[in-house]
């Protein structure tokens, strides 16, 4: 996988933003089950089920949009990897913040 240039990074951001609705919704749903551990639950759901559901939704109903990115040299693997990595980082940060807040 090659490192994206500045223009491709903008397109990666567009793709990533388009996956956030499901990721955030999953996070809120799990987090709302127990507000005492909201950030931990949100973070965990965000980086796991939320990511999977977002990408599955893309695969099942927005497949044609991948060509928007292909025509700018960005592969599906790069798009998916970026989404997973970003959600992983954000999710872990939220889990750490949530755990720290709970114990302080």
């Amino acid at each position: 996988m090659t490192i994206p240039d500045k223009k491709q990074l903008k397109l990666l951001a567009i793709f990533y933003k388009s996956t956030l609705l499901f990721s955030i919704a999953c996070g809120v749903m799990l987090g709302a089950l127990n507000f005492q551990i909201f950030f931990v639950a949100f973070g965990f759901s965000f980086l796991s089920a939320g990511t999977v559901i977002s990408l599955l939704y893309k695969e099942m109903s927005k497949q044609h949009e991948y060509y928007f990115y292909y025509n700018k040299g960005i592969s599906k693997q790069t798009l998916i990897f970026t989404c997973i990595l970003t959600n992983l980082v954000i999710g872990i940060l939220l889990i750490i913040i949530g755990s720290y807040a709970k114990h302080s």
Partner: protein, 223 residues
């Protein structure tokens, strides 16, 4: 500058059925290669394999002497118009153009009888024909050596088809263009080379009688 694209030994099967077997195609700058074929003959599959969006059971792609596995990953080589719209519905026309042309010549691009009045509209508010026109114009204006158009005339009004054909002809001066469509009359009109995907292979076409010979048209279809 003259560029040459060759795709060779293409093989693809689905559910045990051979769709494409040992296809060879060549396209050079200045070529407008029209590919015809019945539904399910493998035209779109061939273009997707050539673009790199589909792996193919086997293929060999060479552009200007270099071998590529997925040509789309190298900027400036190939771009592809799929059958269904590939634009993002929530973006505005002007934003989409800016992304695709890297911000260069956006105003000149939108200085267009049709697109000028749509520049601030969201893509998902365009009609099918308007969207198609925009997609084709975008791809033809990208700095790529080859443009693959899958059913470019589908759902487009006749007057717009004429504009698209003029655009395709103009851009063929600096690009190689491969197009497929069921509107064979317009394909035959705009293309300067023709072939037919038949029974998994490629048949080179010189006249409409060849299309009858290879069972793409009936005798009654001839003018």
């Amino acid at each position: 500058m003259q560029s040459i694209l060759e795709i060779d030994s293409v093989m693809q099967s689905f559910d045990g059925r051979n769709i494409l077997s040992d296809i060879y195609l060549k396209c050079e700058t200045g070529d407008i290669l029209g590919i015809l074929g019945r539904n399910g003959s493998g035209k779109s599959t061939l273009l997707k394999i050539l673009f790199g969006a589909m792996k193919g059971d086997h293929k060999f792609i060479r552009i200007d002497g270099e071998v590529y596995d997925k040509p789309f990953k190298t900027t400036g080589l190939v771009c592809y118009l799929p059958q269904h719209s590939f634009l993002l519905g929530h973006l505005a026309v002007a934003t989409t153009v800016a992304f695709y042309l890297d911000g260069i010549g956006v105003d000149a691009f939108l200085d267009d009888e049709l697109l000028g009045k749509l520049r601030d509209n969201k893509i998902n508010s365009l009609s099918g024909g308007e969207s198609r026109y925009l997609e084709i114009k975008l791809l033809l204006n990208m700095p790529s050596k080859f443009v693959l158009l899958d059913e470019p005339f589908n759902g487009v009004a006749p007057v717009m088809i004429d504009q698209l054909k003029t655009m395709i002809t103009q851009h063929s001066a600096t690009k190689g263009i491969i197009l497929t469509d069921h509107d064979y009359n317009n394909v035959l009109d705009v293309a300067n080379r023709y072939c037919l995907v038949y029974d998994g292979g490629i048949k080179h076409i010189e006249t409409k009688n060849d299309l009858v010979r290879w069972q793409y048209l009936t005798v009654n279809s001839l003018d």
